[in-house]
């Protein structure tokens, strides 16, 4: 029973990370129809920015937790900035050419991973972790690592924040309307392109945050990290119905739980496979869920 509880909480923690990575992806896809392969690069930018802040920018005499807090802010800003630049410089000129947009983000992701490898090397770099986050808390007999609680809290906060943004603000109204019917929103004289840039920046910020927290999870920073997280984020976005935020949240939790439970109760590696199986099942049973995405 304690095993199960531990697995559920760690699965939720993993799902939280997937949600952080997938939420931006899902927003961008829903509104703009861009499958953003550069999202991995945004995450990488966030995690390297955080790593640099924690190890080089701030003095090591500062408390690790304080450094991490600053690093999180830096990662979010860097992620948003990178997202903003990519949208304005690379994506915007290819408006309405979805395949070409995908190709450009593919090129960008290859180039940025290679650049990071050139500058910092392919080997993982250790990332300092606050002592409290590497400890465990006893929860009904199960010793749960504290960092999972942080991930879950951050993901819930982001989810609620994005929901509030989508449902309580003028911008959110435009975004939701754009996901529903972009042409109509344009016809009403609303500048959708500005919204695209904002959504891309929000997605970049979430990705930067996800990248840094994923590095905290694995304890290291490496160029390949973004890519491996990105694939699960893609799967989450597809299962979640592509473009729906609550769907993405549910899918992220499901994927995290399935992966964690299957890895423990079956064999290591089965969890990763069963995630793909889950995807195939969803496609076979509910292909209509993806109908909105028949671009």
């Amino acid at each position: 029973m304690t095993d199960l509880l531990l697995l559920v909480v760690t699965g939720l923690g993993l799902g939280a990370l997937y949600f952080l990575a997938a939420s931006g992806l899902s927003l961008i896809y829903g509104l703009m129809g861009v499958l953003n392969f550069a999202h991995g690069a945004f995450m990488m930018a966030g995690s390297y920015a955080g790593w640099w802040t924690m190890t080089s920018l701030l003095p090591s005499s500062m408390a690790v937790a304080a450094r991490l807090a600053v690093a999180v802010a830096v990662a979010i800003v860097v992620g948003a900035l990178v997202g903003f630049l990519v949208e304005v410089v690379l994506i915007r000129p290819l408006y309405r050419h979805h395949i070409q947009q995908v190709l450009v983000t593919v090129g960008l992701s290859l180039a940025s991973v290679a650049a990071a490898q050139g500058i910092w090397g392919a080997d993982p770099k250790p990332l300092p972790k606050p002592e409290w986050m590497s400890q465990t808390t006893e929860l009904f007999g199960a010793r749960v690592p504290n960092d999972r609680f942080v991930f879950i809290l951050v993901a819930v906060a982001l989810f609620l924040g994005l929901l509030a943004l989508l449902h309580l603000t003028q911008l959110g109204l435009v975004i939701r309307a754009g996901v529903e019917n972009r042409t109509m929103v344009e016809a009403l004289g609303i500048n959708v392109r500005r919204t695209f840039t904002i959504v891309f920046s929000i997605g970049g910020a979430a990705a930067g945050l996800a990248g840094l927290l994923y590095s905290q999870y694995s304890g290291t920073v490496s160029p390949a990290q973004g890519g491996s997280l990105l694939i699960y984020a893609f799967i989450v976005v597809v299962i979640g119905g592509m473009g729906s935020l609550p769907g993405t949240a549910v899918a992220a939790v499901a994927v995290g739980l399935v992966q964690q439970l299957a890895n423990y109760y079956a064999a290591s590696g089965v969890g990763d496979l069963s995630v793909v199986l889950l995807l195939a099942l969803v496609l076979l049973l509910r292909p209509s869920a993806m109908k909105g995405a028949l671009a």
Binding site: A114, G118, V238, L283, A293
Partner: protein
């Protein structure tokens, strides 16, 4: 910018092979009217006369291909050194191995082009089929100790079967969702290979070929030219299959699906089956490429299963020119060549004057290729082959 793109798709439509049926597809009249209207008007008689003309001109068009193959086939007899371009003599083992790998990549890129360039399906799972061919060959040779011919047969049959299953599931969704689903399947294969179930895939180390089971001609440094000829043979086979496919009814249907899927469906084409056929043919050729890859490199490498490999294939095809046989071949060849040789360039004195960080970044072949790829997507969307074709046409016009 937008006019530039549409111009390019028009260019594609008037490719000579697709002309007969292509005229139906490119008509801008409402799709519903086309089948009844055009079928009687393009009767059998004029088509036959046109057919004869295209046959002679087709033979003429074949000439450059024959010359290129002949020159490539003769290379193992050329002892000249090409400093900078190749390691050592052209017929030295190092150059032969490099060229053989480049050729295999060219053929694999062509197999991916059947899916992406010809049918317009953005698949991110092609690595799955190449890796399946490669690993199934290595495993059936070593683990199941089968003879070479049986191993090749097993690898091809199983890869094609895998393509039918994966394609049938993935094609239930379209567009970008299809890309993600194929990506997920390829990722699953990658996980399986790395986990090394029962020790059959060799995990991160990869799986080497059982040398006893392979003919002596394909093993050893001295026999590099034979592996080179094997790779060349694969490219020729792939090019012939793709050319025949593109000229067949199925090929025209693929082009129709690529240009306008909705219209093709309204015209009564079995769109689902056409797309599945493209995936299966592409996977068959890709699996064959994987087999040749394993024979040339003496084993299977987990790199073949990675997303990076599929993305590389996509880059190759777009760089060379999607939907053009020469484009895909050229793209595959040049991409692998650049990937293998750019490292040497970065070590040269050319870059010494640059600051450290810039040099380190430029020493990554994928960085240069990635940036070059973005530039090509923007400024030469029809790739190198498209640029070449445009220059040729300009030359003829003036």
């Amino acid at each position: 910018m937008s006019t530039d793109w549409s111009e390019d798709t028009n260019e594609d439509r008037v490719r000579p092979g697709a002309q007969g049926r292509g005229s139906t597809m490119s008509m801008s009249s409402p799709a519903l009217a086309t089948p009844t209207d055009t079928e009687p008007s393009s009767g059998p008689a004029p088509r036959r006369a046109e057919g004869r003309r295209t046959r002679t001109s087709g033979l003429l068009k074949l000439l450059p291909a024959v010359v290129v193959v002949a020159v490539l086939a003769y290379l193992p007899y050329v002892p000249t050194e090409v400093p900078g371009l190749l390691p050592g003599r052209i017929n030295g083992p190092g150059s032969m191995q490099l060229l053989a790998t480049c050729l295999v990549m060219a053929g694999i890129a062509l197999s991916y082009d059947v899916i992406f360039g010809r049918t317009g399906l953005l698949s991110f799972g092609h690595a799955l089929f190449v890796a399946a061919g490669s690993y199934l060959l290595s495993i059936s040779l070593s683990t199941w100790s089968m003879p070479l011919w049986a191993s090749i047969l097993v690898a091809l049959v199983l890869t094609t079967g895998l393509a039918v299953v994966v394609g049938a599931i993935a094609l239930r969704v379209g567009g970008i969702a299809f890309a993600m689903v194929t990506l997920a399947f390829a990722q699953a294969a990658s996980i399986i290979v790395l986990r090394n179930p029962g020790g059959v895939t060799g995990g991160e180390e990869g799986k080497s070929l059982n040398r006893q089971a392979v003919p002596d001609l394909l093993v050893g440094v001295a026999h590099a030219p034979y592996r080179y000829w094997l790779a060349l043979g694969f490219v020729v086979v792939a090019a012939i299959v793709v050319t025949l496919l593109v000229r067949s009814r199925a090929g025209h249907a693929m082009a129709a699906v690529r240009e306008n899927e909705g219209r093709a469906a309204v015209l009564g084409l079995p769109v689902y089956r056409v797309k599945l056929l493209a995936i299966v043919v592409g996977a068959f050729l890709g699996g064959l490429g994987g087999i040749v890859h394993a024979l040339v490199l003496g084993g299977s490498n987990p790199h073949l299963t990675t997303t990076e490999f599929t993305l590389g294939l996509l880059v190759m095809v777009v760089l060379g020119g999607a939907g053009r046989t020469w484009g895909a071949l050229l793209g595959g060849f040049l991409y692998h060549y650049a990937d293998a040789r750019l490292v040497e360039v970065s070590g040269s004195s050319l870059l010494d004057s640059l600051p450290d960080v810039v040099r380190q970044v430029l020493s990554q072949p994928l960085f240069i290729l990635g940036i070059f790829f973005v530039v090509v997507v923007y400024f030469a969307p029809s790739g190198i082959a498209g640029l070449g074709a445009r220059l040729l046409r300009k030359g003829r016009a003036s």
